[in-house]
């Protein structure tokens, strides 16, 4: 076989593989949009569910997911970014830091249902937070931490060492270098990591199953110790647990969840590309 023919075949093969990667995404998004868009109207996203969730809207699930994501961010971002700063800027290579890194890698590999059970044991029962937004947010935060820590640490390490050296040579403390140079330069990478971590939290069902999610609760939560409905769990409920559920409501709910997650994703992409253009190295 001639070399150029071989090359053409190679290109075709790689193209097909790429198509195989893209096709499911297009199919999933396409199906959900096509079947779900008809259910989307102002009432659907702004009113309480009625008639055994077969009618009305999904407002409490939307609000619940937004609150859980916010709660997760409040806990996971300071701890995650703080931990990343420690690991990247202060920690030397000791047995302790190696153990910390190992723990982070392993945390990232734990199945989400295990986080859910841990949250139930730790926050709901032992700390007596009950089934609540607080317990759910904490559980999701622990699940999100490894993603935030490792992406933030990577972003911090990508800032050239020379900047730290120059800062030190001008009498700047380690913290001043972090505060005035390293952190601002690493911010786009950190924000991207934070958003990607939160996206995963927003879409998870298993960790909230035992810790916060309500099967049917047609009112908005009034305190962090309240239960709430949440989009992923609601979707699971209406597709498997409620007989006679109109298909359009199921796809409509999936559409809203997808739109929420994708729009956050787009925000992350925009932030990243915006800052990358302004970066100076």
């Amino acid at each position: 076989m001639s070399r150029s023919l071989l090359q053409t075949l190679g290109f075709i093969l790689l193209g097909v593989v790429a198509m195989i990667v893209v096709a499911p995404i297009l199919l999933v998004v396409g199906t959900i949009v096509a079947r779900g868009i008809s259910a989307i109207n102002w009432e659907f996203i702004s009113s309480m569910p009625r008639g055994g969730m077969r009618e009305g809207g999904i407002l409490p699930a939307i609000v619940g997911t937004l609150l859980l994501t916010l709660g997760t961010a409040l806990v996971a971002v300071p701890i995650g970014v703080g931990g990343a700063i420690y690991l990247s800027e202060y920690a030397r290579d000791t047995r302790l830091t190696r153990a910390i890194r190992l723990a982070i890698v392993n945390l990232a590999g734990i199945p989400s249902i295990v986080y859910g059970l841990f949250g139930l044991g730790m926050f709901v029962l032992f700390l007596r937070f009950g089934t609540s937004i607080l317990a759910g947010s904490l559980t999701l935060a622990i699940m999100t931490l490894p993603v935030i820590i490792s992406t933030a640490e990577e972003a911090l390490r990508a800032v050239p060492q020379d900047f730290r050296t120059v800062s030190a040579s001008l009498g700047g403390s380690r913290w001043q270098a972090v505060q005035h140079i390293v952190l601002p330069q690493a911010l786009p990478g950190i924000i991207t990591g934070v958003i990607l971590g939160l996206l995963r939290a927003a879409g998870e069902t298993a960790p909230i199953l035992f810790t916060v999610a309500a099967f049917y609760l047609p009112r908005l939560p009034s305190s962090p110790l309240d239960q709430t409905m949440a989009l992923p769990y609601h979707l699971y409920v209406i597709t498997t647990q409620v007989p006679g559920m109109p298909l359009s409501v199921q796809y409509g709910t999936a559409f809203v969840l997808l739109a929420l997650v994708l729009s956050l994703n787009i925000v992350a992409t925009v932030i990243r590309s915006h800052f990358r253009r302004r970066r100076q190295w």
Partner: protein, 280 residues
């Protein structure tokens, strides 16, 4: 090569005829700003400096020169304790600044680095504007007074022979300056802290001849005020700027003396071979 070094000496003498030139003070009579006493230094068990003892006189340019890997940069980075940032190193000996051991436990390292400024081989502008770069040190030291800060900007840039070129561009990104301008900006940034010692590690290695001349010109402005230690990027530059010179080979201080003495009548054979271009 003989012709080359004669020409260099000619240059040097021209310099010294219209101002107090190289070697104007005999080594023995000079006031030592920094004393390096029996310093040895190891990276991961590998020796980089071996038993170096020398003085850095005040208000003069001391050239530290020699082939690559001789420990010159290490020596500079020990004088402002920048090598504290490197793991797995070991040091013996003492370094005194104005008679005080800078490695004493009570030393305030940030304060030490404000007293001992450093300029690196590459122009490492920090993110931000020209003004931000000049004021980084003073701001980190806690200076908030706006009028004093703007005085610092003008004075430092003037001392670094850059003011005329950037006075209208203080708020543009530092990276929009040319390489030569950026390096003078880095010098200005060090001068903003009014250091007592200025360490320059091959400050012109990445620059074209015209920029190099400008940087050297700013060095001549500085020699009357600071103890300047420079690792030159060539023997020619070493000869042009040296009041005093120290020749390093493989971590060992081979010879030191006044500039003219080291470059015209070196005492050690190895120095002579290097200065005349037989190796290096």
């Amino acid at each position: 090569m003989v012709g080359e070094s004669t020409r260099l000496r000619g240059n040097m003498l021209t310099r010294s005829s219209n101002r107090q030139g190289p070697g104007r003070i005999p080594l023995e009579g000079a006031a030592a700003k920094v004393r390096i006493q029996g310093v040895s230094y190891w990276y991961s068990g590998k020796a980089s400096l071996e038993g170096v003892t020398m003085e850095v006189p005040d208000k003069a340019v001391t050239v530290v020169f020699g082939p690559a890997g001789g420990g010159k940069t290490t020596l500079l980075r020990l004088i402002n304790r920048l090598n504290d940032m490197v793991d797995d190193t070991h040091m013996t000996g003492r370094i005194l600044l104005d008679g005080e051991d800078i490695y004493a436990p009570a030393t305030d390292v940030s304060r030490l680095r404000r007293r001992v400024g450093m300029v690196f081989a590459l122009p490492l502008a920090l993110p931000g504007t020209v003004r931000d770069n000049v004021l980084y040190g003073p701001r980190m030291a806690g200076e908030r007074d706006t009028s004093r800060l703007s005085d610092i900007v003008e004075r430092s840039l003037q001392q670094a022979a850059l003011w005329a070129e950037v006075r209208d561009r203080l708020d543009t990104p530092a990276l929009s300056l040319s390489g030569g301008q950026q390096q003078r900006l880095c010098i200005a940034r060090s001068l903003a802290l009014e250091p007592e010692v200025l360490l320059l590690d091959e400050p012109t290695s990445g620059l074209d001849p015209i920029s190099t001349a400008k940087v050297e010109e700013s060095l001549f402005e500085l020699r009357d005020r600071y103890a300047v230690v420079i690792v030159p990027h060539s023997v020619q530059q070493a000869a042009r700027v040296a009041d005093y010179a120290a020749f390093f080979l493989s971590g060992e201080l081979v010879e030191r003396g006044s500039g003219p003495q080291v470059f015209t009548s070196p005492r050690d054979r190895r120095t002579e071979d290097y200065v005349t271009g037989r190796f290096g």
